[in-house]
Each structure stands twice: as structure tokens, then as C-alpha cells.
């Protein structure tokens, strides 16, 4: 199969250099374009939106990327794409292209019929590739690009005596092109502000769509970009309103919180089955889904305050999750039927309150065989409060912490108290451990307990100078901490722009935080504020 010249150059560069295509966010060079690689979910969703849900996408092939400053979305701008990764993309592209051009799909996905199925048809190929190119590249392909892909299709069709095989080859070329694998964000001079640059219309459309819906722009958004509507405030606001009112907001919300909460960790989560037999692979999947359902219902369906996720007792359960939480869940599951999701409210006297007591958080931030107040506290500090906890020094002696059989230190609180006598360790552990110790009544799998090694578990502590007896009293203190709102606002802005906010933007973010604390931290309001902020459509960090 031959490939368009651009594709060949791209492969060669990536293969030979292992080139860092993400590049660091430009500082002052505002006119520079930026590249942000699609996440596995964005890749899959884009394919489904363009070609239909029946196209199978093995998203496991796509590298999830690296986390930076708390978000994979930030790492997506600084990715090195290896030759091996490019090969995986090509393999995936072949799978997709094969399906799109097969007998089942070609009649609906290819808008024309070739003159002969065994020969090239330049007109039909151009028609298909121009149309598909618009959606794959999120902007109209250039004439040169179309000519290159049409030539590629013709060459392959000629060689293989098969029009659709040629089309398939060209489509593979498009699917491995940087214009598809990366959001190519281009800037243009801002006529309203001399010497500054803004994203062009198509880049605005892509940024909006991936932020709010986690997918490629739809036809209406691309049309708005083409017409210049997105460059005007009314036109932009009209599209924002449209996107915000869609049910597809849930896709964007789920991906944002999956990133913010570090749910990529489920891919490598290890829980010792010999100690926690209830924690199955299905439970891990259910736990992830439980949290996302809880958040989606709270923020979208109920338009409730984000901060109340720390104290909500409303959630959804499956039979297996209920067994771990230790609560009854009568359900009318038909034999052999799908696993039911049942809306559930934990009773007021139940120890489970808020996201921190959900299995997803408890298991992700534990060791495989023991809980870890330090990891749990660190996750709260870093993921939910956007505070930085330094890594431990290289020469720390963990033997005391890890020895769970020492009769003198039966509980992890006792072991950590001893550990904190080392002043090198004390500073960080004072940040993390009190929060984590409040969750010690939940083991690694999330099962409630009252003792550890026969000793009663003490979950009390102090947060922002206020005493709490356990997570039930800590949760409202966290909810009322302005850092919670501040963290959400900063993370959402960073996630949407795939860059850290500039110093200038920090002021706006602080104001937004203040307003939201006053008015209520609702999701659509936050999304509206961010997407109506002109800074959202810039590529400059400072």
C-alpha cells in the first residue's frame, strides 16, 4: 500500500526520531499551533460519531498517555509518540477502515457507487474522502491533501483491482495522520486585540466539542466554524448553549472526572483476592461506574452543587457492590439478565457518605493487601484539593509501617504515629494521614470494619482546626473548604485547554471560584463560564 506524502513524512519522522510531537505549550510565541493527542475515549467516540456505533474500536490499543500536574489532559500536549505506538495506531486504523468499507457498511457510509468495483474511480473517491476528511481532521482538508489521498486510493485500487481496497488504504492514511490523531489547534491574529492571537474557528469548535462532549465537532459546530459564527460572541454563545443543553454533556463530564479522579488507575489496580475475596474484576468495573453515575446524576440530572458530592448519600449500586457495602439491594433481576443498576440512598446512620467512601476511591488508593491512609490522604490533597504532596525521600525506612504483625503497633494509626517521629517524614504525613485515617474503617476493598488486628480503629482527627470523629464529620468540612471549588475550577479550565492557566488567567479563575462559592458550584454554570471566557480560546500560557 502506498501512502500520501504527508503520511510518509510523518511516519518517517516518528519512527526515526521518536519525535516529541506534543511539544511544550508555547510561552510567548502565541501564533504557534499546538498539538493535543486524542485520548482513547476521544478516539473511539470520534470514530463512532463519524462512522456509527457499529464500528468496533479496540480502544485498548491506544496509549492512555501520561499524567502531568494532575491530569492526563495536560500530558496529552507533551507526548512522545514512539514508532511502536504509531504501529498500533496503524493497526487500529486498518481495523476501522476494513469495517467502514466492508459489504455491510459501504452502502451507507460511502455516498457514491464506483463505476466499476474493480477499478479506481477518482470522482467517487474524492467525494468520500473529502466528506470524511472534514470530520476526521475537524476542518476541511486542503486540496493538496485530498489530491494526495485520492491518488493513494487510485494507486491501491489499480494494484489490487478493487476500488474499496483503494479507498481503505486512503482511509488508513487519514486515520494515522496527525490531523486526526492530534487536535491541531491553530491560531490567528485577534482583530479585537492587536498583537494577540486566538484559536481559529475550527480549533474553537474542536476545543469546545472535546471539552463538553469529549468527541469530535458535529456538523453544526463545523458549519458554525466555517461561517465564522464562532468568532462572534452571539454565534459562540449559541453553540455553547446548544452543547450545554445536550445529553451528550454526560460524556464530557465522565471523561473529565475520570481524568481528575485518576480512574486510569483501574487498568492496573491490584487487590489481593486472598484477603479481599469479594473484590472481583466486575466489582472494580462496577465501582468505577458507580462513581461516574453518582457524579452524572448529581451534577447533570439534579443540577446539584459539586461540593455536595462529598456528603451525598445518593448513589447507584449493583448486587455485587451492595454485597461489599453490606447493604440489602432487592432487585428483580431476570435470570441471565444484564447486571441491574439500582438507585440507592445510604441510610443516615450508615458509615458511607460521599465520594470518599465509595469503593472506587478506597480501592484505588490502597495497597493490594492493606489500606493506606497516606495514599488516601494524598489523593484527597492532590486530586480534590489540588495541593502538592512531595514524594518521600529515597532513604526512608518503611519496615515499621509495613509490619502489620507487630503486637505493639496493631493499627496503622499506631504505626504512622511512630513513623512521624522521623522529622523528615512528619511534614508530609501531617498533610495526608489525618484525612486517610478517617477512612480506616473501610478496608482495601471497601468493606466496613471496626477493628484492625483486634484493636479498635480510631478515625478522629482535625481538619482546618476543626475536630472530627470520622469521615461522616470530615466530609462536611471538606465540602466547605474553598479549596475544593478552586481545585475544580482550575482543573476544568486546564482540562479544557490542555494547558496550565497563565498568571493572568489565575485572577479570572479566582474570581470564578469566589462567584461559584457564593452562587453554588453547578456543572453547567462552570462550563458556561469557562467556555464564554475568551482566554479559553487561546493557546498562550503567559
Amino acid at each position: 500500500m502506498s501512502a500520501p506524502r504527508g503520511y510518509i513524512r510523518w511516519v518517517a519522522r516518528a519512527s526515526m526520531l521518536g519525535v516529541c510531537l506534543g511539544l511544550a505549550a508555547p510561552s510567548v510565541v502565541a501564533e504557534e499551533s499546538a498539538l493535543v493527542r486524542l485520548t482513547p475515549a476521544q478516539y473511539e467516540r470520534s470514530i463512532h460519531d463519524i462512522f456509527g456505533e457499529s464500528i468496533q474500536v479496540d480502544r485498548g490499543i491506544v496509549d492512555p498517555g501520561v499524567r502531568e500536574n494532575g491530569l492526563l489532559a495536560l500530558g496529552a500536549r507533551k507526548l512522545t509518540l514512539s514508532a511502536a505506538a504509531l504501529e498500533r495506531y496503524e493497526s487500529l486504523a486498518r481495523q476501522v477502515a476494513l469495517q467502514v468499507t466492508d459489504d455491510r457498511h459501504r452502502t451507507t457510509l460511502i455516498p457514491c457507487t464506483p463505476v466499476a468495483a474493480s477499478a479506481p474511480d477518482t470522482a467517487c473517491a474524492a467525494q468520500f474522502l473529502s466528506r470524511v476528511g472534514l470530520f476526521l481532521f475537524r476542518r476541511p482538508p486542503t486540496d493538496a491533501q485530498i489530491q494526495s489521498y485520492v491518488a493513494m486510493a487510485g494507486s491501491a485500487s489499480d494494484t489490487l483491482d478493487d476500488f474499496y481496497a483503494g479507498l481503505r488504504a486512503a482511509l488508513v492514511g487519514m486515520l494515522v495522520a496527525p490531523d486526526f490523531l492530534f487536535r491541531v489547534e491553530r491560531t490567528e491574529p485577534d482583530p479585537a486585540q492587536p498583537d494577540t492571537y486566538r484559536l481559529d474557528g475550527y480549533s474553537r469548535a474542536a476545543r469546545l466539542s472535546f471539552f463538553l462532549w469529549d468527541t469530535t465537532p458535529d456538523a453544526e459546530l463545523l458549519a458554525a466554524a466555517e461561517s465564522g459564527a464562532l468568532d462572534s460572541t452571539p454565534g459562540l454563545y449559541q453553540q455553547i448553549d446548544r452543547l450545554l443543553s445536550s445529553r451528550r454533556m454526560e460524556d464530557g463530564l465522565r471523561e473529565f472526572f475520570s481524568d481528575m479522579l485518576g480512574f486510569d488507575g483501574f487498568a492496573t489496580l491490584s487487590v489481593d483476592a486472598s484477603l479481599y475475596p469479594k473484590f472481583t474484576k466486575n466489582v472494580a468495573d462496577d465501582a468505577r461506574e458507580q462513581t461516574l453515575r453518582t457524579i452524572a446524576q448529581h451534577l447533570l440530572d439534579r443540577n446539584a452543587d459539586y461540593r455536595d458530592l462529598f456528603v451525598t448519600r445518593d448513589t447507584f449500586l449493583t448486587p455485587a457492590l451492595a454485597a461489599i457495602y453490606g447493604v440489602p439491594l432487592p432487585r428483580s433481576q431476570e435470570l441471565g439478565g444484564a447486571v441491574p443498576w439500582v438507585p440507592y440512598r445510604f441510610p443516615d446512620n450508615d458509615p458511607h457518605v460521599g465520594l470518599l467512601t465509595q469503593i472506587s476511591f478506597l480501592s484505588l488508593h490502597s495497597h493490594p493487601g492493606t489500606t493506606s491512609p497516606t495514599l488516601r490522604g494524598k489523593a484527597v490533597r492532590e486530586n480534590l484539593l489540588c495541593q502538592r504532596v512531595p514524594p518521600p525521600p529515597a532513604d526512608v525506612d518503611f519496615s515499621l509501617i509495613q509490619d502489620t504483625s507487630n503486637p505493639a503497633f496493631r493499627t496503622v494509626r499506631q504505626r504512622l504515629t511512630k513513623h512521624r517521629q522521623n522529622p523528615t517524614c512528619a511534614a508530609c504525613h501531617r498533610m495526608t494521614d489525618p484525612i486517610g485515617l478517617s477512612l480506616e474503617v473501610f478496608d482495601t476493598s471497601g468493606v466496613y470494619r471496626t477493628t484492625e488486628n483486634g484493636a479498635p480503629i480510631d478515625t478522629s482527627g482535625t481538619y482546618r482546626r476543626q475536630h472530627y470523629s470520622g469521615v461522616g464529620e470530615l466530609a462536611p468540612l471538606l465540602r466547605d473548604d474553598p479549596a475544593v471549588t478552586s481545585c475544580l475550577v482550575n482543573r476544568a479550565f486546564s482540562y479544557g485547554t490542555a494547558r496550565m492557566p497563565s498568571d493572568n488567567e489565575l485572577g479570572w479563575l479566582t474570581e470564578t471560584r469566589t462567584d461559584l462559592v457564593e452562587d453554588g458550584v453547578t456543572w453547567r454554570d462552570l462550563m458556561r463560564r469557562i467556555t464564554q471566557n475568551p482566554d479559553f480560546y487561546t493557546n498562550v500560557a503567559d
Binding site: 483476592a273 486472598s274 484477603l275 479481599y276 475475596p277 469479594k278 473484590f279 472481583t280 448486587p319 455485587a320 451492595a322 454485597a323 461489599i324 453490606g326 447493604v327 440489602p328 439491594l329 432487592p330 432487585r331 428483580s332 433481576q333 435470570l335 441471565g336 468493606v447
Partner: protein, 378 residues
């Protein structure tokens, strides 16, 4: 007798603990004195005996078995035909067609299998008499134990075992069935189940199936909706003493939907379950079981999985049946039997969603089909 509908309504202050049966299988207790004649062997032994009876030499018989039923001339030697169940082999036809001895065992001659002997077998004294052909329970040391099913089965290699090993056939069927079969439930109601006292024990079938844990065992703490079908509802007066749960004898019936247990029913049902600190129950369920029920389990699975001589078991059970005399023929229709039973904590609810049984305790680390993966007790 069974408490049935006449059982006193539970006290309003009573607690009810729910359980789901995580494992049930024939209670085996093989000993050195169980099979003094050497036993009935395994599948190869059974087939070899049949081939010898059909005139093959021992070496030829073993070659046929090793070749998957094909003789030295390449001809298929049908074991069932050799057993005489077809017209060609001299057996009796059934509607003009050769039939399996498993399905119509009475067409075969009684091979006269060895029955289990010895001092010990699990179970209960069901008839209130201590006679020479009774056993002693190895755990409770109750004398006069009636367990004639053990006599019929105990000398096949597949049953010459003790826990935690489970009869192969019953093990794989249970492990397969529980993912699709409505679960079997137990509940215990009493004023204080942590103390000795009178209780009510109830068996029901659920509308839900069991959940698996990470070992492939049964997850405790799950919720089961009780099937209101009265055919699977049995209530007994019971007692807890020193953490041992027993019941007054009565009738038990549980409808099943597995290849093995199409139904589980007993008269003179006895129960002796230990209430473990982790909240689970384990012990012996016994009584008189219609012997054709158990034979039906075996026949459905066939001799390959069952690893028994089906006609041999058929005739042995018919001979050893010790209860339920048919008023017309006088033939006993039931056989004394004992099953090992385990149950883990579970919530019970009605079809309207009312929770009527609490799950108490976290259950064992290894349960149900995964129980034999637990480290052996030292």
C-alpha cells in the same frame, strides 16, 4: 414433624438472619474399613468388568478402553450395548431401539456392586433405632445413623473421599449450575441468635442466582428475593445450642434448575449445622430422599461424569431403600441419606422489596466451589 404453616409467627423482637446455600453435596466419609472387598473402582474398572463379561480378555478390554471404545479391528465397541441393553447384544430393546442402561437400568442385569460397610458415615438416626447395619457419625458420634445412600455409593472411587474433596460429578455440576440456577436460601429466626434458644428455620428458593467472589466461590452479603412459590417453602422448629443449629424432623422440598438437582426433597429431615464466627453455616443435612431423585441426577449426567455403574447403583438403591413403602407394591421409595451443606450470610427480601433477613458476618474467605482451594487445616 415439619412445623409448616402451623409454626408460631416470629416474635416481633426476633431477629432473622439470612443465608444462601453455597455448597451441597453427598456427605462422604471413606475409611479403611469402608470397602473390604476392594470397592467398585473407577470408570475404567467398571468398563473393564463389562468387557470381560462380554467375552473380551483383560488386555483387549484395556486396549478398547484406551482407544476410546474401538477394538483392534477398528470397530466401535459400544459399552452400553456390551452391557446388554440392546437387541444386538442380547439385551432387551425399548420400543425397538437400543437404549442406555442409565435411562432404563431395569433392562440390565444387576451387576452386584459392593456396598459400603464400616463404622462411620455422616448422617442421623432417622428411625430411632440402633441396629447392626447403622453407622456412627464421625463428627457428632451419634449412633444408629441411617445412611443407606452411602452404602450404595461409597465403594465407587469417586465417592471414596472425605472433605474438602467433593464427589467429582457433584462438584462440577454445582460449580456450573449456580451461575444460572435460582439460589437456595435458608433463614434462622429467634430472639437472640447469638445465644442458645429456640428458633425457626426456613428454606426457600430465590428468584436470583448466586454471585461469585474473586476465588470463584460464593459471595456473601448479597441480596436474594424469595420466590413466593410454596413448593420450595419449608419451615421447621429448631434449636441453637453451643452454636449448633438443629431442627425438629419434617419435610423439605427445594425446586432446582440444574443438571443435577432437579429437586431436593426429604422426609424426616434432620439438620446439624455449626454456626461459625464468620457468620456462615456448615454441617449435615439428612433425611429420607426418594432414591429415584438421586438416581435421576446420576443418569442425566451419565457414567463418564458420574464415574459409577448406573445399573449397579440402581439395583443397590432399590435394594437398600429403607423408607416410603409404596402402598401397592410395598417397595420402599426413599433411602436414608446425608448431605454436606454450607451457607453464607445473605440478605433476604420479599418480591415487594421488604428486607426480611439480615446478612450477619463477612462469611468465609473460601466458600462454595472455592472451598477446596482453601489451605488444608493442619
Amino acid at each position: 414433624m415439619a412445623a409448616g404453616l402451623g409454626v408460631t409467627a416470629p416474635n416481633a423482637r426476633a431477629e432473622t438472619r439470612g443465608y444462601v446455600i453455597s455448597m451441597i453435596h453427598t456427605a462422604t466419609y471413606a475409611n479403611e474399613d469402608t470397602c473390604p472387598s476392594g470397592g467398585n473402582g473407577d470408570t475404567v474398572d467398571i468398563r473393564t468388568r463389562r468387557l470381560l463379561g462380554a467375552g473380551f480378555g483383560e488386555e483387549a478390554a484395556l486396549r478398547i478402553i484406551g482407544n476410546g471404545g474401538v477394538d483392534d479391528d477398528g470397530n466401535r465397541v459400544d459399552i452400553t450395548r456390551l452391557h446388554g441393553s440392546s437387541a444386538e447384544a442380547g439385551g432387551q430393546p425399548w420400543n425397538g431401539q437400543p437404549v442406555s442402561p442409565g435411562n432404563v437400568p431395569a433392562l440390565s442385569a444387576d451387576p452386584g456392586i459392593e456396598s459400603a460397610q464400616g463404622r462411620f458415615a455422616y448422617g442421623f438416626d432417622l428411625d430411632g433405632e440402633v441396629s447392626p447395619d447403622d453407622f456412627e457419625d464421625p463428627d457428632s458420634h451419634e449412633r444408629g445413623v441411617d445412611n443407606h445412600m452411602w452404602r450404595a455409593l461409597g465403594c465407587f472411587d469417586v465417592y471414596r473421599i472425605r472433605r474438602p474433596v467433593v464427589p467429582y460429578n457433584e462438584s462440577i455440576v454445582w460449580d456450573t449450575a449456580i451461575d444460572a440456577m435460582p439460589a437456595w436460601l435458608m433463614s434462622v429466626t429467634g430472639e437472640n441468635l447469638s445465644q442458645d434458644g429456640e428458633v425457626t428455620v426456613t428454606f426457600d428458593r430465590s428468584l436470583n442466582v448466586l454471585l461469585r467472589d474473586a476465588h470463584g466461590g460464593v459471595m456473601s452479603g448479597a441480596t436474594f428475593v424469595i420466590d413466593p412459590d410454596p413448593r420450595s417453602h419449608s419451615v421447621f422448629n429448631g434449636t441453637i445450642k453451643n452454636r449448633i443449629l438443629t431442627i425438629e424432623p419434617g419435610d423439605l422440598a427445594l425446586q432446582g434448575e440444574s443438571q443435577f438437582y432437579a429437586v431436593l426433597r426429604f422426609t424426616e429431615t434432620h439438620l446439624r449445622l455449626q454456626m461459625d464466627p464468620d457468620g456462615s453455616l456448615r454441617g449435615i443435612l439428612g433425611g429420607y430422599q426418594p432414591w429415584r431423585d438421586y438416581y435421576h441426577y446420576l443418569a442425566i449426567r451419565g457414567e463418564n461424569d458420574g464415574q459409577v455403574d448406573l445399573p449397579g447403583v440402581y439395583y443397590a438403591m432399590a435394594r437398600l431403600a429403607d423408607s416410603g413403602a409404596d402402598p401397592v407394591t410395598g417397595e420402599n421409595t426413599a433411602i436414608s441419606a446425608a448431605y454436606w451443606l454450607e451457607a453464607v450470610p445473605a440478605f433476604h427480601a420479599t418480591t415487594s422489596g421488604e428486607v426480611v433477613g439480615q446478612s450477619v458476618g463477612n462469611g468465609p474467605k473460601f466458600s462454595g466451589p472455592a472451598a477446596n482451594r482453601a489451605p488444608s487445616p493442619q
